[in-house]
């Protein structure tokens, strides 16, 4: 965060890396930036996958009792026993991506690019890089490496701090 800025600010801890959970942080970050806020996103644990150059995001109905897809004029949920079968995650992911396209919802790639273009600051958790053995060359350009202290310093100066 620049010291000379008088703008309000938003910081977020991004901990989840599935296709569905990738949306809230990127939607809020891009919108806040569009509304003039200084935005910082701290990507840690599974959230760090969202900074990979090649995104291969998936969604799983397993253990997600609230997930119901509009299908054949109704909403269909999935019992865990069925969700656990091979191929079900892939089918659910394909269905979700199809819905996203059909409903005019942005792709995560587009939101991420917009976030970078609107000067959203991104911090990639160094510890998670080590833990999951991610390589720098697999990650997009833009984010800086940092740790908990880097995030906390930003959070103490921000009006809004979210954990997602």
């Amino acid at each position: 965060m620049s010291k000379e800025s008088n703008a309000k600010s938003l910081s977020m801890i991004v901990t989840k890396g599935t296709l569905d959970w990738a949306y809230p942080p990127f939607i809020l970050a891009t919108t806040a930036a569009a509304m003039g806020l200084d935005v910082t996103m701290f990507f840690t644990f599974y959230g760090l996958t969202l900074l990979k150059k090649r995104l291969n995001l998936k969604v799983s109905p397993l253990g997600n009792a609230a997930m119901e897809m509009p299908m054949l004029g109704m909403h269909i949920g999935m019992p865990n026993l069925v969700s656990a079968l091979p191929g079900v995650d892939a089918a659910a992911t394909a269905m979700m991506k199809n819905l996203i396209k059909r409903k005019g919802v942005a792709s995560i790639e587009e939101l991420r690019t917009t976030a970078l273009e609107s000067d959203v600051k991104m911090i990639a958790c160094q510890m998670t890089m080590d833990l999951f053995e991610y390589k720098l060359e697999d990650m997009i350009e833009g984010p800086v490496l940092g740790g908990a202290a880097t995030y906390i310093e930003t959070a103490t100066k921000s009006e809004i701090n979210l954990f997602i």
Partner: protein, 75 residues
């Protein structure tokens, strides 16, 4: 007539706002941008966007299918 028109029909939250923000950069200060959208959530969102950014929402109307927002760039 607005100085520029942005067609955001068929786009869902938050794309109409993000596209409008981008389009406003090409509008001169004091000029106007008309955004066309089909997302019903855009009505409240453009009010909030304009309040937060200080731009002026000159008009917000709907013909039942398409919403139209006229924004005056103030800075």
């Amino acid at each position: 007539m607005a100085d520029q028109v942005l067609d955001a029909k068929g786009l869902n939250c938050p794309l109409p706002i993000l596209r409008a923000k981008k389009a406003l950069k090409d509008v001169a200060v004091g000029g106007t941008l008309e955004v066309l959208a089909t997302d019903p959530g855009a009505v409240k969102d453009f009010e909030a966007f304009c309040r937060a950014t200080g731009n002026e929402l000159l008009a917000s109307k709907s013909d039942g299918k398409v919403f139209s927002f006229v924004i005056k760039r103030t800075s």
